[in-house]
């Protein structure tokens, strides 16, 4: 009798625990009811080379949270495997703010319309978060006006905003080049003006060595400001150019 009662208690407890764990984050209810859905993944530091990583996790005082700037009710904590989700974000231009221990460690500004799902990949680089990939997917069945709503060939791009791009140098080099972006983020090449930028290479070399390494085929990470963007062309004034992999 005692054994049977234990089984019943345990079965109910296991089921309750499992269902409770399924409950998810109250800030991100399942089933999109309107607005924009943001689904993202945070990779650890060193992700590109497969080194040991800094987890996006959850010890007391070291949780990383994502908040829609100006809308503190839209916030979520990044889970142990790096995934996060926010639903019901008001359509338009919004900024995701990544915070750790109360300190902002990264921001990403996105423009998206109603019914759009934003898929975003970011990674830890040192103590900050950088954008790796961004894709907007329109889940709205009525997409007749989708093309009309796009004004910039860079997904989520907005003139005047800070931007980070990762990709390959297509032509030019040094302090002026055109680049293609990874993950179909831009539907064309982006002009980069880097005359006032700092140059870094993987391996910590800086300056002229790295400037010379910016040539067609090189893998680069560019930080700067989006200065112009239409459906045909886009340009970025870079503040930093990092050569991640030299041209073959």
């Amino acid at each position: 009798m005692h054994g049977t009662r234990s089984v019943l208690i345990l079965a109910v407890a296991a089921l309750a625990l499992a269902l409770a764990a399924c409950g998810g984050n109250p800030a991100s209810p399942s089933g999109m009811t309107g607005g924009v859905a943001v689904r993202g993944v945070l990779l650890g530091e060193g992700a590109a080379v497969g080194a040991s990583s800094v987890r996006a996790s959850s010890s007391s005082g070291s949780q990383i949270t994502v908040t829609v700037e100006g809308n503190p009710s839209l916030t979520t904590t990044i889970s142990g495997n790096g995934t996060f989700e926010l639903e019901g974000v008001p359509a338009g231009t919004f900024t995701l703010t990544f915070t750790k221990d109360g300190v902002v460690i990264g921001t990403v500004t996105i423009t998206a319309g109603d019914g759009v799902e934003v898929k975003i990949v970011v990674k830890m680089e040192g103590a900050v978060i950088v954008l790796v990939d961004l894709e907007l997917e329109d889940n709205d069945d009525n997409d007749d006006n989708d093309d009309a709503n796009k004004t910039c060939l860079i997904e989520g791009g907005r003139v005047g905003d800070r931007i980070e791009l990762e990709g390959k140098v297509a032509s030019g080099g040094g302090t002026g080049f055109e680049m293609t972006t990874q993950g179909n983020r831009a539907h064309g090449t982006v002009d980069v003006s880097a005359s006032g930028a700092s140059f870094r290479c993987n391996g910590n070399e800086r300056g002229d060595v790295c400037t010379a390494a910016v040539k067609p085929g090189a893998q680069v990470h560019v930080r700067g400001t989006l200065t112009t963007c239409t459906l045909e062309e886009a340009s970025v004034t870079a503040t930093e150019v990092r050569v991640q992999k030299a041209a073959d």
Partner: protein
């Protein structure tokens, strides 16, 4: 979470002692078994599908040592996620006629891998992990049985335990005679 561990230890404690002496009036001699089945886990925000393979070895009338492997796969945002677990622990079984409910506590490792094919970026990490849960075996003819199981899969990341549900359904084969 600490309370959950404690509850399972208390529940299994009498069997640890009983394992040292033969059970009086045992219905059938416990046999080692192997389980293979479909498995689903909700890891963080992502739903992952995969498999679970486990084996158990009896150390008393109702206590078993368990080795458990599982692999779960899926995608979220633009990333492909893989989660593998390798766990060891103990299982308490209450066999009665064709039904054999059980509870188990396992500890080991969880390896997670995230890759983003669009940008050729990947990341992997191994952390302490565990599982707390239970299930039900229903004995079929011969050495076969079916099993339904529910666990809380635990992941120790940066000093804190996180828990995700794992559900498995599959077949059990009992070894020996």
């Amino acid at each position: 979470m600490r309370n959950a561990w404690l509850a399972l230890v208390v529940l299994m404690a009498p069997d640890l002692a009983a394992a040292q002496r033969p059970a009086a009036g045992a219905v059938a001699r416990p046999r080692p078994d192997v389980f293979l089945g479909y498995s689903y886990t909700h890891a963080g925000e992502a739903g992952l599908n995969g498999w679970e393979l486990s084996g158990s070895y009896p150390v008393g009338s109702s206590l078993r040592l368990v080795a458990d492997l599982s692999g779960h796969y899926g995608s979220f945002a633009q990333a492909d996620l893989t989660q593998a677990t390798f766990l060891l622990g103990a299982r308490r079984v209450w066999a009665k006629r064709r039904f054999a409910p059980f509870a188990e506590a396992l500890l080991g490792g969880v390896r997670t891998k995230t890759s983003v094919p669009d940008v050729s970026v990947s990341d992997s990490d191994t952390d302490w992990g565990g599982a707390l849960g239970g299930g039900l075996d229903y004995r079929l003819s011969g050495p076969w049985a079916v099993r339904a199981q529910a666990d809380l899969l635990l992941l120790r990341a940066e000093g804190a335990w996180e828990s995700d549900p794992r559900f498995s359904l599959g077949i059990v084969y009992r070894l020996g005679r």
